[in-house]
């Protein structure tokens, strides 16, 4: 077969394969993606403000954090788990690595699926938030902010896929169970999901340590847009932070992937 193969066509086939497999477990997918924001929003966005332990403005602080968290965690999970399984257990990825394309195409396809999943992760937060904390939320968005929001969400989904690529090529399947308490939980709870990063002023150590968490930049950017400014990081900083993380993790993730692909 001397036919000229189109790399993009093969990319699409690989994406299709992943989406097909994922869609077969759509119930588990919705459960996995929805449960975390659901339980956090139910507790912190509804019950605690109802009881009066948190004040009525808290849901406004929290909503962007939930959006950022769900997006990042879903995208990471959606890339890490299949990658770790594919590479280590049965090396079933070999069939795709054998395809006459650059091995990067296989990685791009995995990341693209992670990006799609992270968008679903962000979308799922909307109905949950409306149901449980809709009455507290006070969000106004003009057209320009809407566009910026879309841009930040898109960029963040890429961040989440690059982080997933890096982690997925590092962890081994037996370590996946440890990933939630050992990696995702710290990522979430030091990711400024409930309050502005600037509020950490009183604990300077935490303030600087959390800067190595990409979720901080994502949430700060989202909070800037959704809460119309306030005490957040300037948007230029937060977006720069996201971009830097994406580039660094994308670079090392791809390097690891190529190394794993050629053993």
């Amino acid at each position: 077969m001397e036919k000229k193969l189109n790399q993009f066509d093969i990319f699409k086939i690989m994406v299709k394969r992943d989406l097909l497999i994922q869609s077969r477990d759509w119930k588990e997918f919705v459960f996995r993606v929805g449960m975390l924001p659901f339980i956090l929003i139910l507790t912190y966005g509804f019950m605690l403000p109802q009881i009066g332990i948190l004040d009525a403005d808290f849901p406004n602080q929290m909503f962007p954090g939930m959006l950022g968290m769900s997006l990042l965690v879903t995208g990471i999970h959606g890339t890490v788990v299949p990658l770790a399984m594919d590479f280590n257990n049965t090396r079933e990825i070999e069939d795709r690595l054998q395809a006459p394309v650059n091995v990067r195409v296989v990685a791009w396809a995995k990341m693209f699926v992670g990006i799609i999943e992270s968008w679903i992760g962000a979308l799922i937060v909307l109905p949950i938030s409306l149901v449980f904390m809709g009455s507290y939320l006070n969000i106004s968005l003009d057209f320009t902010s809407g566009l910026v929001l879309l841009g930040v969400l898109l960029l963040s989904s890429v961040t989440s896929a690059t982080l997933g690529l890096l982690v997925g090529t590092v962890v081994k399947p037996p370590q996946i169970a440890a990933m939630f308490p050992g990696f995702l939980m710290p990522l979430i709870f030091t990711g400024a999901i409930f309050f502005n990063w600037a509020a950490l002023e009183t604990i300077p150590v935490m303030k600087y340590i959390t800067l190595i968490n990409p979720l901080v930049y994502i949430n700060e950017a989202l909070r800037f847009i959704l809460n119309s400014g306030g005490d957040t990081m300037p948007i230029v900083y937060s977006i720069s932070g996201i971009v830097v993380f994406t580039i660094v993790m994308g670079y090392y993730g791809m390097k690891r992937f190529i190394k794993m692909a050629n053993r």
């Binding site: 093969i10 097909l20 054998q98 394309v101 053993r263």
Partner: protein, 325 residues
Amino acid sequence: MKEKKIEAILEVKNLKKVYMKNDGEPHVAVNGISFELMKGEIFSFLGPNGAGKSTTINMLTAQLTPTDGEIVFQGQSLKDNPIFAKSKVGVVAQHNNLDRGLTARENLIYHGQYFGMSEGDAAKKADELLASFGLTDWGNDYVKSFSGGMAQRLKIARAIMHQPEILFLDEPTTGLDPAYREILWQHVLKLNKEYNTTVFLTTHYMEEPERFSDRVAIYNKGAIKALGTVEELRKKVPSQTIITIVLDALNEDVVKEVKSLADVKDVSVKDEKTFVVYVDNSQKVINELLALIDKKGLALESINLSATTLDDIFIHLTTNDIKND
């Protein structure tokens, strides 16, 4: 035999692979081998367990980076142009690397599409292959539920889905019953004949290369010990005929005396009762042997005359190495 234009499709130069073991010690799995694969030939690469056959296949199919050496597909180095190399090959790996998330039929269809087939063409070809490998009724089942032999058949079907120019088969018939072994070979020979597909085979069943292959390489401990047609390799053993003798008890004396007979090329002791005699004039030697055994008062349990098989050649060329371990 077959009329073929002699043209190398793959050149391997000084190929080497050193693994790092867990204890940090280097392990040389492939130690600088060189050979050419000719277009349209069936080439058998034979060697004992752990010799480095799978390692070699993994390097030749762009799955594993060599430590040193060169792999050139029709003038294009694999390192510089892996896409070209990958477009040429189909592989049946030794382990089961089927796509667990997909059904048997989807495994074939997706594979075809990775190689540029349209979905329609791939589906048609997939159904044909499922039928000939007895998997039609299992087409819509996930490969998780497949028995070892079924998975093996599907792996073979998948490797030939896109009609590769070079087919790499890493112990393809292991785990297959004799009927499916025949079916596999029918397919391979058909591809070889109709499309001049080149085949690179590893196997532990010596009758397969003897029946089907044009050239054989005997490979051990990272190095090629002998390479040629089966006829050429026969010349590497002391003679073309062997007599295998089983006695009630064997002693060094007898072996020495047998060795000194005219027309006896070599004698090797297999176990405490059995020895193998490489001979030129079998009729004469048999008579002399029987006379000798009689004279010594030993009891003959069995005597067997046969032509040297690839098995004997393989054992002759690889056991010396094993003994030296």
